[in-house]
């Protein structure tokens, strides 16, 4: 049916395609043949991943708080080594031979050096170096190792690194078995920016394992360093906060710059040494950390919620003022050290006799707030706390943040069953005990809203992300507003100023600066109570808020208030210093 012309054209086209293939074959097998034969028979190609320096993390004023320093690592190329070599190396490094063996069997990268141990001390390095010629397939390399100059003081803030998990290897093709991944804190939150991109270089080696030089066919892909992360943390304040809190067994401190919600210090205690953890911690040391009864890995600022104690009283007072049920001068039945509701007795810490609202806050009178709480009723209080987002996360840029809790009617019903709880919980709720919970960060954010008349910024650590000098991301503060009447907040702020001037929080006083704040005691039966203090300064034109909690030490005034006082003093000292 078709002319021979059609056939001829088709066959010519196919012939042409075959000729291209044949030319290529000729090129590879004849022109380059000798070279490829040598590569295949007499030498080998080694594919080496060159580690990318992880991005650095900076505190305010360009102070480095996470860096990389050179360290020695030992790698073995599975295809080029033998059992005897592995045994010898395992012996030098004091690790289990079977571990390495098992590791190799689960590994697909037969021609790529597999990291066996990082951060090897110089003595061991020298010993191995001497015998390197008898250890085929063994490489000693210098690689960047994570280094945190402030150690435990920044451990929860920055987080740490640990070996990639099987799960991550499966889910993210970026990771290779020898990678270390950012965990918790900033390292975890901004892992994708910090990690950078490994380079790859191909080298030709001879039978004895000597490098002959780079492979011509494949250009080297240089490693790309991770982005640098700039935080709002003030390194000096961070250090001081750690120093102050570490006098006690357990606790947390957080400070917020009121002008944009940026976090200036964030400390949780007890802490751990992130340098030790990130350089490949032994399984035993790691389980010790995880199982330690003081939970040193827990970031108490964001992952622990406590009853706020009396620090909630300003909110209950605001709720009362807003509802119109009370005013500044309202008095209830006198405080005689206890209050009876139903068949239960609720205690106050001393006899306050008759107080107005302001003094009830200043002297932290429980009896006053028991009665105010009952007057307001459960629903009014819980919906007001809801307005202050007590049961929401603050959305700080850290993983593992938890929210507080409000014992609403629905919550109590689901917890205890319908009608299985009584209004007897209301007096306790009004003084911040029982099932109401807040994290230290939440409390700091609540007080920053009080300090700024209802306006506050979402707390944030990241200021900018930079690649060298080039800024690739600049954080914009997010403003939020809680509706409060100007008159009501004025009353509360005056009372908070009174707390520090002559009330329960006098130990937070700082010479030359008016501090306002509130003490609190979180009851923690059967153990000792936790001490709270949250305060801002200067009271007239607030700039900064600090919140401190010290676990199991008793009342807040004596223990937590001085910590906040000292931090406020330091904050303004630094500011003064910078101004000069």
């Amino acid at each position: 049916m078709n002319g021979s012309k059609t056939q001829k054209r088709l066959v010519t086209l196919i012939l042409l395609l075959f000729l291209i293939i044949i030319w290529r074959l000729f090129h590879l097998q004849v022109i380059l043949g000798a070279r490829y034969y040598r590569l295949s028979e007499l030498s080998r190609i080694r594919k080496i991943y060159t580690p990318a320096p992880r991005g650095r993390i900076f505190a305010r004023n360009n102070i480095v708080i996470a860096d990389s320093r050179p360290s020695f690592a030992l790698s073995i190329i599975p295809l080029e080594t033998d059992s005897q070599t592995i045994k010898t190396v395992a012996n030098y490094l004091d690790i289990d031979y079977l571990n390495i063996k098992e590791w190799f069997e689960n590994n697909a990268y037969l021609r790529t050096p597999i990291k066996i141990k990082r951060n090897i001390n110089l003595e061991t390095v020298l010993k191995i170096e001497e015998n390197l010629h008898t250890l085929p397939g063994v490489l000693l390399e210098v690689e960047p190792l994570r280094f945190y100059p402030y150690g435990p003081a920044t451990a929860h803030l920055i987080g740490y690194l640990s070996a990639v998990t099987k799960e991550e290897l499966k889910n993210d093709s970026f990771y290779k078995p020898w990678h270390f991944v950012g965990r918790a804190g900033i390292e975890g939150q901004y892992e994708k920016y910090l990690r950078g991109n490994e380079g790859i270089r191909y080298t030709e080696i001879d039978i004895l394992g000597r490098e002959l030089g780079p492979l011509k066919e494949k250009r080297e892909e240089p490693p790309v360093a991770g982005y640098d992360i700039y935080l709002s943390i003030d390194a000096e304040l961070q250090n001081l906060a750690y120093e102050l809190i570490s006098k006690y067994k357990k606790g947390a401190v957080v400070g917020i710059d009121l002008s944009d919600g940026s976090i200036i210090c964030l400390v949780s205690h007890p802490s751990f040494d992130p340098n030790l953890v990130s350089s490949g911690i032994s399984q035993k040391d790691w389980s010790n950390l995880v199982n330690n009864k003081f939970a040193p890995l827990l970031n108490r600022v964001i992952s622990c919620a406590y009853p706020p104690g009396s620090t909630i009283k300003p909110l209950i007072a605001l709720c009362g003022l807003q509802s119109g049920l009370i005013n500044q001068e309202t008095r209830f039945a006198s405080c005689l050290g206890a209050f009876t509701y139903g068949n239960r007795t609720y205690k106050c810490w001393t006899k306050h006799y008759s107080l107005n609202l302001t003094d009830a806050i200043v002297y932290s009178c429980n009896t006053y707030f028991y009665q105010l709480g009952l007057r307001l009723g459960l629903d009014r209080i819980t919906s007001y706390l809801n307005l202050w987002r007590v049961n929401k996360k603050t959305d700080i840029d850290l993983i593992n943040e938890r929210s507080g809790n409000i014992p609403t009617r629905e919550w109590l019903d689901s917890r205890y069953g319908k009608n299985c709880w009584t209004t007897g919980i209301i007096p306790n709720l009004a003084i911040g005990q029982g099932e109401i919970l807040v994290t230290p960060l939440q409390l700091a954010v609540i007080y920053s809203a009080i300090a700024n008349n209802g306006e506050y910024y979402t707390p944030h650590l990241l200021q900018s992300i930079k690649k060298g000098d080039k800024t690739i991301f600049q954080y914009q503060a997010k403003k939020n507003q809680i509706p409060i009447s100007a008159d009501d907040i004025k009353i509360i702020k005056k009372a908070l100023q009174g707390v520090v001037e002559f009330g329960t929080g006098t130990s937070a006083q700082v010479f030359g600066i008016t501090v306002a704040g509130k003490t609190g005691t979180a009851e923690n039966p059967p153990n000792l109570d936790h001490a709270w203090f949250v305060g801002y300064a200067p009271a007239e034109q607030p700039e900064v808020v600090f919140c401190a909690i010290v676990e199991n030490v008793g009342k807040g005034g004596a223990i937590a208030a001085p910590i906040v006082g000292k931090l406020i003093e330091k904050y303004f000292a630094i500011k003064q210093q910078l101004a000069n």
């Binding site: 075959f18 293939i21 097998q29 490829y36 034969y37 028979e41 494949k218």
Partner: protein
């Protein structure tokens, strides 16, 4: 009573060529894997031979009658494989123990049969009414296989359509105009490529089409050419990366560029005479995951060298040439179109697979006919041989 006479005398050359290719494939598979794969491949060869014998008995009118039913069944299977299929990071085949059934292999056959039955006895003209059905079929099947994703196999339908149109008498210029929107889209990524393409197209279309047709061609091509940079510019970085890795699926994430180097070294190391049967250090030491399937040619080139590779290429060329000759000789238009369609499929797979192994074309998972390990591909090509032999001996 079916005629079981295989006309051995007449068909012997083609059968011998296939046998040689199969033997080379078996040796290579045995060399780089283990006896299990070797035996499985042998079983597949027996099954495929049965398929060949059965297909050889089917007369052309019967084949033509079932073409559209085959097409519908295949369409359903391709849909089903998207939901229930297996594969490395894709859904390409149904799994029954070690037997994998890949519907896309048989899509080639059903599309060729459908197109042949549509084109036969038609005086093809370049208009929408006449070209809508074949273009729609090809787009539909290509799209379904792209979704798996299996770009390498999906693209096979484009040359098949082009060559079958050419064989039906449509001039090359018109075929060029028909494919121009696709070419325009591809060229659109580079202005230097697109401008000469567009000028050539405008001239050809102006000479070959009416003014209205010319205008439509120009507008469609401008839209297609513009849309690629615009779409590209609006994609997020990760989407771009995804497309790049889709176009060359194993290029880097799974270390395929490393395999490409190894493949190239293996081919080169074979030099002129090869390292000999059952040797090949490169292939044994290397961790090349597809050395018995998609990359089998590199193993072969290492063992048998340039001479062996040339022999294989000549054998393929002989087969392709026989297919085309069959298409020319037969007086049955349907049979002729089927033969030319099959020859295009064979050419495409040989060129694309070897081109990939030699680093001339991007890596796409496509099998080398008769040589690669794998049942579906083998069965398809045995059926193709069955059809060709039938046309050659029975429907002159």
């Amino acid at each position: 009573m079916p005629n079981l006479n295989l006309n051995i005398k007449e068909n012997l050359p083609i059968l011998i060529v296939c046998l040689i290719l199969l033997t080379i494939g078996l040796i290579t598979i045995y060399n780089v894997t283990n006896q299990v794969y070797f035996l499985r491949q042998l079983i597949w060869i027996i099954i495929a031979t049965l398929g060949l014998v059965i297909v050889y008995q089917i007369s052309m009118p019967v084949l033509e009658n079932i073409a559209w039913y085959l097409g519908i069944v295949n369409f359903v299977l391709l849909l089903a494989v998207l939901f229930f299929g297996h594969g490395a990071g894709a859904r390409r085949w149904f799994s029954f123990g070690w037997i994998n059934f890949q519907p896309s292999e048989f899509a080639k056959l059903s599309v060729i049969l459908m197109l042949a039955s549509y084109f036969k006895n038609k005086n093809l003209e370049f208009n929408f009414k006449k070209l809508f059905v074949p273009v729609a079929i090809v787009i539909l099947f290509t799209f379904l296989i792209v979704l798996e994703p299996d770009l390498g196999t999906a693209l096979i339908f484009l040359p098949i359509l082009a060559v079958m149109l050419f064989w039906s008498g449509l001039p090359i210029s018109k075929i060029f105009i028909l494919f121009s929107p696709l070419l325009s889209f591809i060229c659109g990524f580079s202005l230097y490529l697109w401008i000469p393409f567009f000028i050539a197209l405008s001239i050809i279309a102006f000479r070959k089409l009416t003014i209205a047709g010319w205008l439509i061609a120009i507008i469609v091509n401008i839209i297609a050419g513009l849309s690629s940079p615009i779409i590209w510019a609006h994609l997020k970085e990760y989407q771009k990366a995804r497309i790049i890795s889709f176009l060359s699926p194993w290029l880097d994430p799974k270390g395929m560029s490393w395999n490409l180097i190894q493949s190239r070294i293996a081919v080169g190391a074979g030099r002129i005479w090869g390292k000999g049967i059952l040797s090949g250090a490169q292939q044994k030491l290397t961790f090349l995951p597809n050395r018995h399937t998609d990359f089998i040619f590199s193993t072969l080139a290492e063992q048998f060298g340039l001479i062996g590779s040339l022999v294989v290429l000549i054998l393929y060329f002989y087969l392709i040439f026989q297919f085309i000759k069959t298409a020319v000789k037969t007086h049955d238009q349907f049979a002729s179109l089927v033969a030319i369609g099959l020859s295009t499929a064979l050419t495409y797979q040989v060129i694309v697979n070897i081109g990939m192994v030699l680093g001339l074309l991007p890596i796409t998972g496509i099998a080398l006919p008769f040589l690669s390990y794998g049942g579906s591909s083998l069965l398809f090509y045995f059926i193709a041989i069955g059809i060709i032999l039938h046309i050659k001996t029975k429907s002159e």
